[in-house]
């Protein structure tokens, strides 16, 4: 049994991250870090993970050139990293599956998870069904209504979906409830946090399991075009997709861009843009850029995309943003919808609303001089069809 952490718990010059957890969860977090480190050093675990990523998830995912969209935007080349083609339809499965394998290795019999858009919930539900673990997913009631197909998918996989009615009924409340549930069942349950958030070691663990996206993409773009792009871009809710794509490019001389949800306005409560609108604060176990009011209460957020509708930017990504290694930009609801439509029409790919925020920024990047862009298409848009239908009038 260990009684302290061995990995760094803080990120960047501002020392973001940390482990601001209730005492009940401290020993479980020490144990989790120890199990994570041991697993990473165990060739059998790594081989099993690699095998599952290949044969169950469908990795490597393709890197698809998008020449018609590139031409339309005035880019010389555009490459899409197709996480939408993973099993369950988003990058979330990379982390969910790896943590489920870790939980089984730790002897845990139950899984707890939160979900916003439902992609992490579906991924966790699928991984649990495959590994024979029982699973409970906490989901805000607003999100359950706007992502109803994902609720049905989770239930088909045998997962219990617990509605969370508190507050706005979105991701923040779901995380609150998942943390409470874990404190009650931490002796037998593992909490699979879905983004690079929460107390240490979650941000580091989630980022580690997601960097497969950027590692594959970097090799694929070199293979296809013989050079690195001048810009790499991904959307960022908590930051698991953003970090997963961008971290393997940190040593390269190129622009790294993460796109937040600009929602429908600039005032607090109308968006989920933490870089402009946030201040350093502590929520859900970590210190990071946080949308909050003058009393230190978490602010309400708004986004057409449930997966980006969260008041805190993951601490490692916030650290990279504040230290100038990643540019953080925002795209509004309307811009994201337009970005989605353009990709559908030019390339025959239906993106998730989350990914559409990155697509929305492409014309601005082109105007700023970008010529070759690699974009993380984090998920597919089937779950968002009803929003697209109503908002685009189709």
């Amino acid at each position: 049994m260990t009684d302290s952490f061995a990995l760094p718990t803080r990120f960047g010059a501002q020392q973001l991250g940390g482990c601001y957890a209730p005492e009940t969860l401290m020993q479980p977090l020490f144990d989790l870090e120890a199990a994570f480190r041991a697993a990473l050093g165990d060739p059998a675990f790594l081989a099993e993970l690699k095998g599952e990523l290949r044969h169950f998830v469908g990795r490597p995912t393709p890197l698809t050139p998008a020449p018609r969209l590139a031409a339309k935007l005035g880019l010389r080349a555009l490459f899409l990293k197709r996480e939408d083609l993973t099993h369950t339809g988003a990058h979330k499965i990379n982390n969910a599956l790896a943590q489920a394998l870790l939980a089984r290795r730790m002897g845990k019999t139950e899984i707890i998870a939160e979900t916003g858009a439902g992609q992490h919930g579906v991924a966790t539900a699928a991984a649990c069904a495959r590994l024979g673990l029982s699973c409970t997913v906490y989901m805000g009631v607003t999100d359950m209504a706007r992502q109803a197909p994902n609720v049905a998918r989770m239930r088909l996989f045998g997962t219990k979906v617990e509605p969370v009615a508190a507050g706005q009924g979105t991701l923040k409340e779901a995380v609150n409830e998942a943390l409470r549930a874990w404190a009650g069942r931490c002796d037998r349950a593992h909490y699979i946090l879905g983004s690079a958030l929460g107390p240490h070691p979650f941000p580091t663990m989630v980022r580690t399991f997601q960097t497969v996206i950027g590692e594959e993409a970097r090799a694929q773009v070199l293979e296809q075009s013989g050079a690195l792009p001048d810009t790499v871009i991904a959307c960022a809710g908590g930051g698991s997709n953003g970090l997963g794509l961008l971290v393997p490019f940190l040593g390269d001389g190129l622009r790294r861009v993460a796109v937040e949800a600009g929602g429908h306005g600039k005032a607090l409560g109308e968006h989920a843009a933490r870089l402009d609108g946030g201040r350093l604060g502590v929520l859900h176990g970590c210190k990071t850029l946080l949308l909050q009011d003058e009393h230190g209460h978490t602010a309400e957020t708004a986004s057409i995309s449930a997966g980006l509708d969260y008041p805190a930017l993951g601490p490692e990504l916030a650290g990279f943003a504040l230290d100038g290694q990643v540019e953080v930009r925002r795209a509004s609801d309307e811009e994201a919808l337009a970005g989605a439509r353009l990709l559908c029409e030019t390339e025959g790919i239906l993106p998730a609303l989350e990914s559409s925020h990155a697509l929305a920024l492409l014309s601005a990047l082109a105007a700023e001089g970008a010529a070759t862009v690699l974009l993380g298409l984090s998920g597919r848009g089937d779950k968002d069809l009803s929003t697209y239908q109503s908002r685009l009038g189709i």
């Binding site: 049994m1 009684d3 940390g18 482990c19 601001y20 957890a21 209730p22 005492e23 009940t24 969860l25 401290m26 020993q27 479980p28 508190a166 507050g167 923040k172 609150n176 943390l179 409470r180 404190a183 009650g184 069942r185 931490c186 002796d187 201040r279 604060g281 502590v282 929520l283 859900h284 176990g285 946080l290 909050q292 003058e294 009393h295 230190g296 209460h297 978490t298």
Partner: protein, 248 residues
């Protein structure tokens, strides 16, 4: 030994009612009381205290207004301010010390602040007379319990209970009225911890009926009553009416 450590949520039912509740608690002979500073995201609280916090916030009980309402109060037990870190962090240690100075607050219980995460903030407040209450959970190994008690030291036998006690979390989970919380493991735990420290112990999470409170007292510890009290107050009962049976 302090017979009972009650918990109230500041601003529930109203900030105006707070002075009278506190003087009522003092009249019952209570040395100390935990006062919740309502937070938007109380991740360690069950449904009763979540609802109380949201009622209080909706009623305008911001951290600054709570501290203002406490300023100058003398007819009150010593207060342990029970809260989450972010509101305090946003106020900042320097301003917080000034705001606390005219209040009966004697210690802070910050649920999501393990020792070592904000060392400068914590040391600054401790030096000013606002120590952090050490929390010991069922998952806390005894070696770590020893370390927590050392990092958040006993200011000494002459200090009031509010500044000396360690909070023993009786069971896994969040605050709330436990249905039939099994007290046998709690008794073993308290005995183990009493072998580590001479400071007073308070036991909370899931105690509601008079028999559980009495059982904790036979362990030589102070029972905490929170959710059951907050719920009874919300149902319109008076403080004395609720607490007097548990004090017998």
């Amino acid at each position: 030994m302090n017979p009972l450590l009650p918990f109230l949520m500041a601003g529930d039912p109203s900030l105006e009612a707070l002075p009278q509740l506190l003087s009522g608690a003092k009249a019952l002979g209570l040395d100390a009381l935990e006062l919740g500073l309502p937070h938007s995201d109380p991740i360690a609280d069950g449904p009763v205290l979540q609802a109380a916090a949201h009622r209080a916030i909706d009623g305008g009980a911001t951290p600054l207004r709570v501290l203002e309402a406490l300023a100058g109060l003398t007819d009150s037990p010593d207060l342990v301010l029970f809260t989450y870190l972010n509101p305090l962090l946003q106020i900042g240690a320097a301003r917080l010390k000034k705001l606390l100075a005219p209040t009966p607050v004697r210690a802070l219980l910050v649920v999501d602040l393990p020792f070592g995460e904000e060392p400068a903030f914590e040391a600054d407040l401790r030096a000013a007379g606002y120590p952090m209450v050490p929390l010991l959970a069922p998952t806390t190994p005894l070696d770590r319990a020893r370390q927590i008690l050392a990092e958040r030291p006993d200011p000494g036998a002459s200090a009031p209970f509010a500044q000396r006690f360690a909070y023993v979390v009786a069971r896994l989970g969040v605050t709330g009225t436990g249905q039939g919380t099994d007290l046998a493991p709690v008794r073993r735990r308290v005995t183990d911890l009493q072998a580590l420290t001479t400071r007073p112990l308070a036991v909370g999470f899931g105690l509601s009926d008079a028999a559980s409170l009495a059982a904790v007292r036979t362990m030589g510890a102070t029972p905490v009553v929170g959710s059951a009290l907050v719920q009874a107050l919300a149902n319109g009962k008076g403080l004395g009416e609720i607490l007097a049976p548990g004090l017998r």
